[in-house]
Symmetry: D2
Subunit: 313 residues, 4 copies
Amino acid sequence: MPNKNLKEDLKKVNQFKISEEDDILDLIESFSDTGFNAKRLASACEIYRDMVNEQECIKFFGLAGALVPAGMQGIVHDFVKEGFIDILVTTGANLTHDIAETLGFHHLQGDLDTERHDDVKLHNQEMNRIYDVFLPNKVYEGIEDFVSQLEIPNNNMPVSEFLHYLGSKLPDNPNSILKICAEKKIPIFCPAFTDSGLAMQIGFHHQNINLNHFKDMLSMVNLAWEAKKAGVCIVGGGVPKNFILQSLQFCPNAASYAIQITMDRPEPGGLSGATLREAISWGKVNENAKYSTVIADATIALPLIYLYLKKIC
Amino acid sequence: MPNKNLKEDLKKVNQFKISEEDDILDLIESFSDTGFNAKRLASACEIYRDMVNEQECIKFFGLAGALVPAGMQGIVHDFVKEGFIDILVTTGANLTHDIAETLGFHHLQGDLDTERHDDVKLHNQEMNRIYDVFLPNKVYEGIEDFVSQLEIPNNNMPVSEFLHYLGSKLPDNPNSILKICAEKKIPIFCPAFTDSGLAMQIGFHHQNINLNHFKDMLSMVNLAWEAKKAGVCIVGGGVPKNFILQSLQFCPNAASYAIQITMDRPEPGGLSGATLREAISWGKVNENAKYSTVIADATIALPLIYLYLKKIC
Amino acid sequence: MPNKNLKEDLKKVNQFKISEEDDILDLIESFSDTGFNAKRLASACEIYRDMVNEQECIKFFGLAGALVPAGMQGIVHDFVKEGFIDILVTTGANLTHDIAETLGFHHLQGDLDTERHDDVKLHNQEMNRIYDVFLPNKVYEGIEDFVSQLEIPNNNMPVSEFLHYLGSKLPDNPNSILKICAEKKIPIFCPAFTDSGLAMQIGFHHQNINLNHFKDMLSMVNLAWEAKKAGVCIVGGGVPKNFILQSLQFCPNAASYAIQITMDRPEPGGLSGATLREAISWGKVNENAKYSTVIADATIALPLIYLYLKKIC
Amino acid sequence: MPNKNLKEDLKKVNQFKISEEDDILDLIESFSDTGFNAKRLASACEIYRDMVNEQECIKFFGLAGALVPAGMQGIVHDFVKEGFIDILVTTGANLTHDIAETLGFHHLQGDLDTERHDDVKLHNQEMNRIYDVFLPNKVYEGIEDFVSQLEIPNNNMPVSEFLHYLGSKLPDNPNSILKICAEKKIPIFCPAFTDSGLAMQIGFHHQNINLNHFKDMLSMVNLAWEAKKAGVCIVGGGVPKNFILQSLQFCPNAASYAIQITMDRPEPGGLSGATLREAISWGKVNENAKYSTVIADATIALPLIYLYLKKIC
């Protein structure tokens, strides 16, 4: 709470100007003394900068939502490449779409005006819709070719190890998230792996597989346990958010930095929209942590944060 | 699209009246000729009624969101008990909370005004906050006592079989979701099981466990494959929504009925908020299906639907 | 904030059951010991009940959003008729639609699945769309006939007086909001009156009209000033919300009761979604007030509240 | 709808890269071949660019939401100054806050974490909260000094003329919206003027005032009538959105360009969240118009669009 004499303590809202020469750094700097989500975005940028600059901070990154279909594969890849992510937790869907693109297939642009899509016609043309993006059915055939030829090293290996193996088998690609994680040995967790087209094809072609989800859960706890300092960036919520936060209860100091970019809100009571402040009650976020939730579409906010980090770090 | 002569074809919006004697059936009936979400709720009720009345329809129910903490455990239990659910897919969180209540522990009511919660104080008092509900840390100790004494029948059993085993070991309780599913042999899937406090305790105490997630995935596909007719009720979205829908691609006729109750929206592109119409493009929902998405808090809509079904079926 | 010893002070969340015999009172009573929006709805019902039962409480009711097109005209009419509203503030759109229905015209039901609407075809057929409801252009011709024949008593009369005059000129109709307000002399304010189809037709046909908006503003302040006790029900937000709240700053005790039913949220910073707690800082809501914001579609929540009030008051 | 042979017609989603040298133009260009709201933002930028570049296009700009408190006064000012706005429609709140800042008073920054605000304490310290921004009560005293000394030229003048008069009386200020509109003779409409703190003070001090709202309504219709080509930018929705759109029904060609930046959604049925496509059914937006709705906080999107326009136009 503000101190007694608010008039002296509080900073003015900055009625900032933008000049033609301004770049993203100027913009974010201007935002930091405003209000609403502009300020939150600026705060998220600054917190991420601190996470990157602090050597011993382990950066957990939770990625939910169909970001690869929306063209954000290269951005996520570069977050990993640049060292902005130490541990990645994501959904099976993003991995499926990542493999599709990595194998040379593509998502297609539908109509900006989703009301114009005729899903019956799309179905007849074997076009699967993800809001305003299409994924042709034949892409799954391409994934199936890849998956069916895999030799599973160990039917009981942890999912995360299997994902590194998958990455190692994928062709070189400048955007592939699985590939760069495998190359850089960045742990990549997918707690709901079987909830994906990729896992379905693996299950069909390799009937004895029983990838170990529990070992991943314990590995994740160990990673949190060993982190002297932890930072979190949550994109979208979902299972990745909870999987990271449940582990951070075992981090000696909980998260010291926390960012959340989401369109979800607290009122329906689900974890995706829960405030980062709520996580303090659980001991998942430190009571002295810097944290910022930006209510924004990640397809806008994430590239802005990336560009900011690239310029300033 | 409406036919040429709209004036003759379209029904008037019903400017309905409510009398003191009206009950929920009257209200829903009135809603069915209105607009916006009232009409969608009425349509959802009618679709669920048709699902229940149609003998051969297999009813898939996806449950995400912290419904047990919000007091909806008994409602979900009774959906199962009354035969309104044939296959349940849910989150590890709801199972954790279900076990907590079944073992005799309780969630506690916080302040309606969440802005009044001090999460630092809550943390110091070992009170974990879920929006306006609290879960004391000591409840986890109770769950741990239960979990640590379990003898795991088979470290590699499917998660769903393990959940039936768990249900069989729980004490009798009129609200327990796990118990009633075990008793009625209603399949209960949890694709992101290791993303939960329950699974963490199981993992800590039973280090060799490697519950099979892939077999569940294939079982789910088989259940969809064998369904002559399929109906879906999605509460909240998340992994349960996708897990059901990905299986229904293998249902010979896709879903003939589909209901969704959620606060999520399509614009951010994630699956939780995707329209049911989008699922037609994927072949998950039949192009002739009856479907309705109700934008509503499930804590309000689900009990209303239950009461409607109880009175009319 | 909860007291030190939370374990003793806090009430358990009620894992309630619904029986076939239950009616809305049972449901709301069950909701009152749960969480999330079910609890908020129960609290809103109880607060409105208290407002109605407290003789000297002046009940301000703000109505934004296209409720008449969605079939809620009769409900709002009955809120007035039953004495649940002492002062109504609404939008020009709702008044336009109220007149349309009162004159015997109708809104029409479109497709539940709004993605199926072809707005170009609708335009060609002179069908105006309001989400899933249509308003044929010809209805405006009917309103114009009515408006063009009006003799304006005084070009400078306050908008609110003009609205009572309008009500007095309308035919008898069991649902008309304007009519019942005129008959019961319930003040009805419309601060953005010229932002409506109704006002446009009045302006076209009565070019010298200059209804006084400032007198209404001052009348509203006087009504608040004279209210020993004030209660507020906000549906949807918008201008009606602010117009009521800005007046309540002049109420000696600010609002003692406040309910808000909306789908808007605080994060974008607009007043529609602002919390009722924020209004305490302005002195619009009393620091000891009972208040509840229900995040719900008003087409569902408002009829439920009405039925509750009818049964209990 | 896409043509028959989708595979040939549809463009690939661009898995773009960001380099350290990129500026906002590069980013927006990259966004234009993606999906979700990034693509919508790019489309909005391009549409606004076309509106600015097309000489005869009249640019209507609707501004709702507390943008001045959030530090966006200078941006809106510069939209006017640069010729990006031909007709401004806004709320009384934004005008109130604009005058406050123009007179040298300031909004103050609260805590990013709104849960930490104690509204009772704020009230006791005479600090009015607008989400995470504060407006001290004493600012209203400053506005009152200004307002009380005004000599109203004509008690029955249109609100828009009065607003130009107000602007002419304000001191020079590089950010003032009212000032720049007065100087550049940009019409500025405020259909719900009496719904504001500014109008309340005017009403208290100038009891005979009866500013004409109907003349503004007719002027606005004339402006639309005379526009050979019309473009619309809607920020936030509310009365400004409807006031612009209801006028554009009288524009010979309806709007040829339309942008909307909002956090509101269509499902609750209110106009703020209605799609721009719905406006085609009303004849407010042309069936061949280019249009884009960006679901984003205006405090982030509006500065980005401004910077884009500055660099490219």
